[in-house]
Symmetry: none
Subunit: 206 residues, 2 copies
DNA sequence: GCAATATCTGTATTTTTATACAGTCTCACT
DNA sequence: AGTGAGACTGTATAAAAATACAGATATTGC
């Protein structure tokens, strides 16, 4: 599975989209029209490269004989992240508890990963120990006040409600037994690992 | 969507199987080979009939331009049931809020439908107003004590924790502001509409 | 009995598609 | 400076596929 050039990725992405949309692989001519090539051979050679690099399979001599390779079709659902060690990146392979067949689009802005909740600090928001949160990771966005976030303070990952006041950020629990975490953006390191967009509870204590 | 003859069903079934297997609709010639027709026109006319009867759609002038009609493609996910009127059957069309793309097997014994929660009677079990429950409907099974059930008492649908003692059944809320419901199996009508196997919270108050 | 429909055979004829061959131009290596 | 890959243009052509036309039987419902 070799690396693709940007152009090749673009073309592969379009083929995927097309196939998802109307469940019929494109012809060379259709690819040509989509990318405004003036020659069907432009499409042909791109397909050849994608096939050589192992991203698609071409059935020779059959109309629309393009199929995505197995490894391209799979990876359905979202990764479920368990206990994350302090300072380690969130999506590192070793924290992955598994992969759940959940449609990312089920959660309205779209979810990027699932996170297993530890502890009862958000109990009064209806989030219990062992629950699974759907999290949207958006590098750019700053959370709004009142939004529930997955934050990392000095290496430690925590789920709390966000409240900001200048350089002062409060990470608020929803359980009177826990105390708010005060973060000074100038003193402490704070990373937003995502915004909570959904909750899932399966098995266990229902 | 007219009725099909046995032969037509056979052919439609084969087309479905083919498409599921290698995600590429068949050509007339392939159909011909599969059924040992000696003329491509046998395939052509069958396709015409299937199209006329509304089971497939033929895109004219395109190779392999066969697609299954929407209703032929599967009903993926589970139905989401909203406010159920007293005495009416649970899965009646008019209470359906929609269909969510949720894998029934995500919830371990398998879910049959989704139910929108109304009210806060199960708040302390982490189930809030507006949450969606995944419910397993098992006609035969009697719930175990402590299991969370969707029950119908004298026509009214409610979600509570189950506790039985002979002919006396208690439907227990998980919120001190609510009172347990006492059901006498000899006096009252009680139907189990299912056992809660999962919880989903999307959008709204997170 | 007769028309309509279902299920085919047999033969053609276009269209679509796949795909070969011959180039051009750019850019990254070495 | 030369080589090779990437990204195409332009032109052909053979194979694959759709589809029209002209029948042949058999069954079924009036």
């Amino acid at each position: 599975m070799d690396e693709l050039t940007p152009r090749q990725s673009e073309i592969l992405a379009w083929i995927r989209a097309r196939m998802a949309e109307d469940s019929l692989p494109p012809t060379r001519a259709e690819l040509m029209r989509a990318f405004a090539f003036r020659s069907p051979n432009a499409a042909e050679s791109h397909l050849r490269v994608l096939a050589r690099k192992g991203h698609i399979l071409l059935q020779s001599g059959t109309a629309r004989g393009i199929r995505l390779c197995a490894s391209e079709e799979e990876e359905i659902g979202l990764p479920l992240i368990g206990r994350v060690a302090a300072g380690q990146p969130m999506l590192a392979e070793e924290f992955r508890e598994g992969q759940l067949p959940v449609d990312p689009k089920l959660f309205s802005p779209g979810a990027d990963y699932l996170l297993r909740v530890q502890g009862m600090s958000m109990r009064d928001a209806g989030i219990l120990d062992g629950d699974i949160l759907a999290v949207r990771h958006e590098a750019s966005l700053t959370p709004h006040d009142g939004q529930m976030v997955v934050a990392r303070v000095n290496g430690e990952v925590t789920v709390k409600r966000w409240k900001r006041d200048g350089n002062q950020v409060w990470l608020l629990p929803e359980n009177p037994d826990f105390s708010p975490i005060s973060v000074d953006l100038q003193r402490d390191s704070l990373t937003i690992e995502g915004v909570v967009v959904g909750l899932l509870r399966i098995g266990g204590k229902l």
